[in-house]
């Protein structure tokens, strides 16, 4: 048995014998273990790759296996279907055969295997190709040995395990700064609670001694003490509430700030999978739920526990028999509490999902109000919102039943307890028992009713706890999420010349479809590169990788010879000026929108940037000029104006590399001319990447890259590509035909 074979999963037991038999004389290099049979049912299957052949094992083969020599294969390919994929080979005879079927779990290693086979057939070096395969397998195993969490590379530290890990310690850090306030409040509570235990005792003295003894002087004294106790109690409670509120607010604030901060550093892939409404909900409501719970635990729980202990001592001191009877409902309450938690916990989770859905609808529809109005879709939007609200209400009703019934049930049990005390104690007093006087009974009943308050509190705790747990889970989802990795923190380049290299870059947003395949590209400093291709061809994804929005790609991207993953993230992104197709404006002044991300800048720098961007002209004509407040998403400016503001924003950063992602796609020819002028002034001496549909935008480009279906199909100077008469040539032809037609039409209209 060969133990050193690289495999994505252990060799299935059912194939072990035939594996040993068949691979005896060959060295198995690596194995792809699949989880489906060729008919698409769950079963074990595998492909063994040796130096010269593939042996596939599947229960659907006549002998359980099938062997193919590389020499007979023209190409090997992984075809991704929906929810599964197949490894196919095309023979030199023209025939095709499916060798293995598997779910997406094995798709990446199968991809590597196909590349391996094709590379060997092209005559490439086996050892080198095997290294590539090994690295893919290695990446698959990048999990934290402790918690199983996926790591960006095998050496990376797991953020889940390096932290304290536990829920309490995670939220404990928000409590620690407030420990002084919380301690004072707790002390005050304890004293106030202690004082609240005195009045029932005074009742006993009055019933047993003062009133029967007709002692008026004593009555005044006792009442004065009572008044004093009440005053002290309420003053202390008032002061405590004030301190507690401030401490609580600070806890929520810090928690919200942290969640928000973390949300800023989360990679874009996080936001691809989660709705913004859900994130907003977590920052707003869930943080408050956690705060309320922290308060409950640090304050009320302590006080209630103290009250409980104090009451038990007093009650047992007064009459152990009555005290024992008072304790009867306690086990029932505790058991009911646990049961309640089990019933209501999942319900709260479901309720949370519904309220997050409502937030998502809000976050989607309110910013899109212009579109809704334009398409007179108000009614449908209202109906959709109403439907989500109804769903929430339906779920809330399910929570409401146990949430309402349980406390009432507890109160009922507690009341039954006090009836038992009255019955037994009353009988004892009536029968003239020496053990208990009337005053003592009255005072005992007062204590007994107080005794159930903490019991009630702890019984209801599970409800609050379940609710909090649902919120805590949501918050930890953000706090614990893998942030963008800044492996090269502090590592800056002495000077960024702007040489960009893509080396064997492959990327997929998820395992169902590859977006970029085998990208190899070198851009020299100062190059002006036009990236063209049809919509969805992968142009923007190429830029997204360069911007480090997604890190989970195979291969390397280098800037001046340094892997971009090893460069300090802030320094790196600061060195790139990125102008998007639909620039986002913040609800702020034009000045601040231009200065966004540039730190403290001089007014004249901003004006200069606006001037270079051809924006100064229109800005100075506005009544409030640079102080003009922009509405949400830049309301108040035209598309072209917003674009020029965003170019000014990029200019101000003085970047080494410039990226324009269809910067002139949504503007008219005249504005395009203005923007084009701004761009041309900006790009001199800087490495520039321009994604463009309109080829007229690429007049200055000295290099054109044509991307199609995630691959670079043409690359060279515009002249070279025109000579090639390939895709670029076709694009130029189509567009020049269109332009000529437009020109002709314009002339006709003019005449």
């Amino acid at each position: 048995m060969k133990l050193k074979v690289i495999t994505n999963k252990p060799i299935p037991k059912q194939f072990e014998d035939s594996f040993n038999q068949l691979i005896k004389n060959d060295d198995a290099l690596f194995i792809v273990v699949g989880d489906l049979n060729l008919k698409g049912r769950y079963a074990e299957s595998m492909m063994v790759f040796t130096a010269d052949k593939i042996i596939a094992f599947d229960e659907c083969y006549d002998n359980g296996s099938f062997s193919v020599d590389y020499a007979d294969i023209e190409t090997a390919q992984v075809k991704r279907l929906y929810g599964n994929a197949v490894f196919k080979v095309k023979f030199k005879t023209g025939k095709k055969k499916m060798l293995l079927r598997f779910s997406y779990a094995a798709a990446e290693v199968a991809d590597a295997a196909a590349v391996f086979v094709n590379a060997l057939n092209e005559g490439k070096d086996l050892t080198e190709e095997l290294e590539t395969v090994k690295s893919v397998y290695h990446k698959q195993r990048c999990f934290c040995p402790k918690c199983g969490r996926k790591l960006p590379n095998p050496e990376a530290e797991c953020i889940n395990c390096s932290g304290k890990g536990k829920l309490i310690s995670k939220f404990g850090k928000y409590v620690i700064p407030e420990k002084k306030s919380l301690f004072i409040c707790m002390l005050l509570s304890v004293v106030a609670t202690g004082l609240s235990l005195v009045p029932p005792y005074i009742t006993k003295i009055m019933v047993d001694d003062v009133i029967p003894g007709r002692d008026s002087a004593m009555l005044i004294k006792v009442l004065a003490i009572l008044l004093g106790i009440y005053i002290l109690q309420y003053v202390m409670n008032g002061f405590r509430s004030y301190r507690l509120r401030l401490a609580g607010d600070r806890i929520t604030l810090n928690l919200k700030k942290d969640i928000y901060e973390k949300a800023q550093y989360l990679p874009l892939s996080f936001y691809d999978k989660i709705s913004t409404g859900s994130v907003i909900n977590r920052v707003n409501s869930d943080a408050s739920v956690i705060q309320a719970f922290i308060m409950k635990i640090t304050q009320e729980a302590v006080v209630q526990a103290f009250t409980l202990v104090g009451l038990v001592i007093i009650m047992f001191g007064m009459s152990w028999k009555l005290a024992l009877f008072s304790l009867i409902p306690v086990p029932v309450v505790v058991v009911a509490g646990r049961l309640f938690g089990k019933i209501i916990g999942p319900k709260y989770m479901r309720l949370w999902r519904r309220s997050a859905s409502i937030s998502t609808v809000l976050a989607n529809s309110i910013p899109g109000v212009r579109v809704i109005k334009a398409f007179t879709n108000e009614k449908e939007t209202i109906n959709k919102f109403a439907r989500y609200c109804d769903e929430w209400y339906k779920e809330d009703k399910k929570v409401a039943v146990p949430a309402a019934v349980f406390p009432s049930l507890i109160t009922f049990l507690v009341t039954c307890g006090s009836i038992v005390v009255w019955f037994l104690g009353g009988n004892m007093v009536i029968n003239g028992s020496e053990e208990i006087s009337l005053g003592l009974l009255v005072s005992f009943v007062s204590y007994a009713s107080m005794f159930y308050t903490p019991i009630n509190f702890f019984a209801n705790m599970s409800d609050t706890y379940q609710n909090t747990l649902a919120s805590a889970e949501k918050i930890l989802d953000i706090i614990d999420a893998e942030p963008e990795h800044n492996f090269g923190e502090g590592n800056t380049l002495q000077r960024m010349d702007g040489k960009i290299e893509f080396k064997n870059v492959n990327f997929a947003f998820d395992r169902s479809k590859k977006v970029l395949s085998n990208i190899n590209l070198t851009i020299e400093p100062g190059d002006i590169v036009g990236i063209v291709g049809t919509t969805g061809s992968g142009k923007s994804t190429l830029i997204n990788l360069l911007m480090r929005y997604y890190d989970d790609y195979d291969g390397e991207i280098l800037i001046d010879g340094e892997n971009i993953k090893n460069i300090d993230m802030k320094y790196y992104r600061d060195s790139i000026g990125y102008v998007q197709q639909e620039p986002l404006m913040f609800r702020d002044t034009i000045f601040n929108n231009i200065a966004f991300g540039s730190g403290r800048v001089h007014v004249e720098q901003v004006i200069h940037a606006a001037e270079v961007a051809n924006a100064h002209g229109f800005i100075s004509k506005l009544p409030d000029a640079y102080d003009t407040m922009l509405g949400e998403r830049g309301v108040g400016l035209s598309g072209g104006e917003r674009q020029r503001v965003s170019i000014a924003r990029a200019i101000l950063k003085n970047p080494s590399i410039l990226i324009f992602d269809e910067a002139t796609a949504a503007v008219d020819s005249e504005t395009e001319h203005l923007i084009q002028g701004a761009i041309e002034r900006l790009i001199s001496g800087r490495t520039t990447l321009m994604i463009a549909h309109r080829l007229s935008t690429l007049r200055k480009a000295n290099k054109i890259v044509v991307v199609d279906k995630g691959e670079i199909i043409e690359c060279g100077t515009p002249e070279e590509l025109l000579k090639m008469k390939g895709k670029y040539y076709k694009l130029v032809e189509i567009q020049s035909m269109g332009e000529q037609l437009q020109k002709k039409k314009a002339e006709e209209n003019f005449e």
């Binding site: 989880d35 489906l36 698409g40 049912r41 769950y42 079963a43 075809k79 279907l81 929906y82 929810g83 599964n84 197949v86 095709k96 499916m98 779910s103 997406y104 779990a105 798709a107 402790k146 918690c147 199983g148 969490r149 889940n160 999978k273 989660i274 859900s278 916990g345 999942p346 989770m349 479901r350 999902r353 997050a356 949501k474 989802d477 614990d480 998820d510 395992r511 169902s512 279906k709």
Partner: protein
């Protein structure tokens, strides 16, 4: 506008299990076409696109029930091969370790175990009682009707919806 196939104007034959060859009554022939559902969640038998190896759409079948019986069978078989969305009939067990949930379920394709890292994003309940699940490897599963699952399965899945 796409070229719609209404019914008998095309003959479809199987090619390598997951592809079809198409022959139109006009005489046009296309080989190795891939079938793509336009509505893989809401319309399983309607609007099926036929794409060539370059991803160009050749035609769209409006409703496979209107095709000739042999062609219909071919399309159904190919779709069955192409779209692998195991239908979960029963949940056997669920275990959680370090916030990674392992689900073992019985499906129409056999018993499988899959991994879920975040229930909130991985499970999508629909209004008609169906539940769509996407596991950590982007494989898809469907519960045809969550209400008809057995008691044990419901106990496992309902709290996550």
């Amino acid at each position: 506008m796409p070229r719609y196939i209404e019914g008998p104007e095309v003959r479809l034959t199987e090619n390598d299990k997951i592809f079809v060859d198409a022959e139109f009554y006009t005489g046009e022939k296309f080989y190795e076409l891939e079938l793509h559902r336009m509505f893989p969640i809401t319309g399983l038998t309607k609007y099926i696109a036929l794409m060539d190896s370059e991803g160009n759409e050749i035609a769209v079948i409006r409703d496979i029930n209107d095709l000739m019986p042999e062609s219909r069978e071919v399309v159904e078989n190919c779709l069955r091969e192409y779209y692998m969305i195991p239908r979960i009939t029963k949940f056997i067990k669920m275990s959680e370790k370090f916030k990674i949930w392992m689900w073992t379920a019985e499906t129409d394709k056999g018993i499988c175990t899959f991994e879920i890292r975040n229930h909130l994003t991985a499970i999508k309940p629909l209004y008609d009682g169906r539940v769509l699940i996407k596991d950590a490897n982007d494989n898809r599963y469907e519960i045809p009707d969550v209400n008809v699952l057995d008691k044990h399965s419901k106990k496992l899945i309902l709290p996550k919806l």
